[in-house]
Point group: C2
Chain length 105, copies 2
């Protein structure tokens, strides 16, 4: 598992186009041409560039299937990065996953 430091994470998500792509990839796998189509008006090289930034920050999963390359958002990675930000910049308020609440009681 790769660790993404807070600055790298912040830089990776600090662009509107990139956040729109992240939204598209949040809950489904999409190939590059589908992303280009849904983004409407953004060129394929630009999309590939943004995907590279997200990939290098460890925020997307990649799968090759024939000629196409599919991407999806790595929600776990996002959650870990946000957790790090919270620990560092909001230590006064600690958060825990809802999925663990059952175990508490």
């Amino acid at each position: 598992m790769m660790i993404t430091d807070p600055v790298t994470f912040a830089k990776a998500i600090a662009d509107d186009t990139r956040q729109q792509v992240m939204n598209l990839l949040c809950c489904e796998w999409l190939c590059v041409s589908d992303i280009v189509e849904r983004m409407g008006g953004v060129s394929q090289p630009t999309i590939s560039h943004h995907l590279a930034v997200l990939r290098e920050a460890g925020l997307v999963n990649t799968r090759r299937d024939g000629k196409q390359v599919f991407y999806s958002l790595d929600q776990e990675a996002v959650a870990v990065c946000c957790g790090t930000l919270l620990q560092r910049f909001a230590p006064g308020r600690q958060y825990i996953p809802v999925s663990q609440i059952e175990l508490v009681g």
Copy 2:
């Protein structure tokens, strides 16, 4: 209460110097000259600039006391922004504040 959108938040924290300043301001009030002193090697105008960015993003509290202006990190704002990021980009894993767990049972 002001709302900070995820892109503005990300841009605000997408710089190493700025995150260092945020660390300094995380748990105490500091005036500008103290920040300059602790950052060592960064000029006062640069620090003022970074503080302005954080202020415009709603991430710091400000208080004037005589000639000096004190800043502190707004942990609540950071927590809200991280929460928004989690909702948008990690909807599969929901987190809640520890402080609210008592109320659940």
